[in-house]
């Protein structure tokens, strides 16, 4: 569905990834891991077509993503950004309804189906009673969930999510990642997450890319690359490995 072809990305003279050839297919939950500034967000933006690659290309359905018209892209692919801005007042439901934009004609108003989708999305992030609340009255975690609901309302087969668990409490981190990861059981669906929590990544991810400081990118099946030596090199710190309930957990030493 989505793949990189010899993708090279540089920021301020530093190479983030060099000639990366990775293929992202339906049914997979990818996780990008790396230290601060290792280029996770830049790579995600390049996949979304928001950033011109320094070399190589990103292909969406075998067509360079930057050659795909914005509207067509929006029907295939949705993006959750790391931070959000709101200079002007808007309610939760208005924000979520913007996710329906790629499905509506230029002069078309949102119909009952769109309202139903938006309300269902708010319900999925446990904000059912918040539709008419102004965003300014919501907490950071609640606003994050409104953004996630907007992405759900967009209902794009490919979702790129930059730190979706930002501002979320423990319960919502697990519940929302679980709900998002479950999307890939539907045919033709794919998720790509940027995450900081290795243990959440191990729990919900199937594949991963590790972005090392020196520009090396390791990609593949997550259980194969998510090893203690790799992680210690990735984060440049000692990790404690705990075995419990048949899975491995990593904690900084």
């Amino acid at each position: 569905m989505l793949r990189t072809d010899h993708l090279t990305l540089r920021v301020a003279g530093r190479t983030l990834c060099d000639r990366l050839d990775a293929g992202f297919s339906a049914g997979e939950n990818w996780v990008f891991l790396g230290a601060n500034g290792s280029g996770k967000t830049t790579l995600l933006h390049a996949l979304a077509g928001l950033r011109e690659p320094d070399r190589g290309s990103v292909l969406l359905d075998d067509i360079p993503v930057r050659d795909t018209p914005h509207r067509q892209r929006a029907r295939r692919m949705g993006v959750l950004f790391q931070d959000f801005e709101s200079a002007f007042p808007a309610t939760a439901i208005e924000t979520v309804l913007t996710g329906r934009y790629p499905r509506l004609g230029r002069w078309q108003w949102e119909g009952t189906e769109d309202y139903r989708a938006a309300e269902a999305a708010l319900e999925a992030v446990e904000l059912a009673g918040f539709a008419q609340r102004p965003l300014a009255t919501l907490s950071g975690g609640e606003r994050r969930r409104v953004e996630i609901a907007a992405l759900l309302a967009q209902d794009a087969p490919i979702c790129l999510l930059d730190e979706p668990t930002n501002h979320l409490d423990l319960r919502h981190q697990a519940r929302i990642l679980n709900m998002l990861a479950d999307r890939t059981h539907r045919p033709g669906h794919l998720n790509i997450f940027v995450l900081h929590d290795v243990n959440l990544a191990a729990r919900f991810g199937t594949h991963g890319i590790l972005l090392f400081d020196d520009g090396e990118c390791l990609h593949g099946s997550l259980p194969e690359i998510l090893t203690r030596p790799n992680l210690e090199r990735l984060y440049r710190c000692h990790l404690r490995e705990i075995h419990a309930d048949g899975s491995r957990w990593y904690l900084p030493d």
């Binding site: 933006h45 979304a48 077509g49 928001l50 914005h70 509207r71 067509q72 892209r73 929006a74 029907r75 692919m77 949705g78 993006v79 950004f81 959000f84 801005e85 709101s86 200079a87 002007f88 007042p89 808007a90 309610t91 439901i93 208005e94 924000t95 913007t98 996710g99 934009y101 790629p102 509506l104 230029r106 002069w107 108003w109 008419q132 967009q154």
Partner: protein
């Protein structure tokens, strides 16, 4: 959010009332029947007919058009720059027009020349800001805002210089123009056509503007081309401002506050906000201008003073009441 429809209907009803108010006020007392008959083209009373058709109607329509243009332009620029403090003059369009007008006044040119030069000055300023903020690949709204603000400051310095060296008898006329004055606005045709066309284009952009409120990247991933959108809004808002300034000088306050009042009252959906801004801005300036010319008659006040005197308390009251 469901207050939008009643607000829009209320404004739709208020707009003709404001025009009626403008037609009914003045040194010559004309009763409602007289106004109506004159409007329908009845020549029975030649004085009444002339006062309505030659004086009050053009001026009322000019005021309405200018108010609508300024409020619409303000609403567009606020979302383009994602800055609630933006107004139609923030990017220097009016500064360019002002310098061209004051220079024309200094040279003793007639009203027609003043108009033409004001429009040229506005366009020149628009091109300067556009050209300077485009160098390099990135054309971010911050760069645009900073370029515009600095260019506007440059025009401001030139304006002060002209005021300082201009002969005393000309300075009052210049000040009236700078504060905003509709005394010589007798040909509203171009402004009305621009207002209607501008509103149509704005409505076509209304939903993309709703996306832009969530940020450029969000707009891009929801199916809009932000660079194109930004360019269209910039050109459109500049044209609207240029027309308004050409007709009436730089009337302050309308473009900044009308969109905010409507956001406070009914939310930020641009499908509501843009037409409502035109109606409220137009109606507000029509009433303000009528008061400016008849309130202290025979003295005429510049309408820009009244817009601020009327608008500031209203806005502060609304702001204090919400949350």
């Amino acid at each position: 959010m469901n207050r939008r429809l009643p607000i829009t209907l209320l404004l739709l009803a208020a707009a003709p009332l404001s025009l009626w108010f403008a037609l009914s006020q003045g040194s010559l007392n004309i009763d409602a029947l007289g106004i109506w008959r004159a409007l329908l083209g009845n020549h029975d009373n030649a004085t009444t007919y002339l006062v309505i058709h030659e004086l009050r109607l053009p001026r009322a329509l000019s005021a309405f058009a200018v108010g609508g243009l300024l409020a619409l332009s303000g609403a567009l620029l606020q979302v383009l720059l994602r800055n609630p403090l933006a107004d139609p003059y923030v990017l220097g369009v009016s500064g360019g027009a002002a310098v061209a007008t004051l220079l024309s006044m200094l040279a003793g040119l007639g009203t027609g020349w003043l108009r033409g030069n004001a429009f040229l000055g506005a366009m020149l300023s628009m091109l300067i800001v556009f050209g300077l903020s485009r160098t390099g690949s990135a054309w971010t709204q911050n760069r645009l805002l900073l370029t515009g603000v600095v260019v506007a400051a440059g025009w401001g310095a030139v304006i002060s210089l002209i005021l300082a060296v201009a002969p005393a008898p000309q300075v009052q006329g210049m000040l009236f123009w700078l504060i905003g004055d509709l005394t010589y606005a007798s040909q509203p045709g171009a402004a009305i056509v621009t207002l209607v066309a501008g509103l149509a284009v704005s409505l076509w952009l209304a939903r993309p503007l709703n996306l832009l409120m969530r940020g450029e990247n969000v707009a891009a991933t929801l199916g809009e081309n932000p660079a194109r959108l930004r360019l269209i809004i910039y050109l459109l808002a500049s044209m609207l401002t240029a027309l308004a300034v050409t007709l009436a000088g730089s009337i302050g306050f309308v473009g900044l506050v009308i969109p905010h009042i409507l956001r406070l009252a009914g939310g930020s959906d641009h499908r509501y906000l843009l037409p409502a801004s035109v109606l409220l801005g137009g109606g507000f300036l029509t009433v303000a201008d009528t008061l400016a010319r008849s309130g202290a008659a025979p003295m005429q006040l510049p309408v820009g003073v009244l817009t601020a005197l009327l608008g500031v308390p209203v806005f502060l009251f609304l702001l204090a009441r919400t949350r």
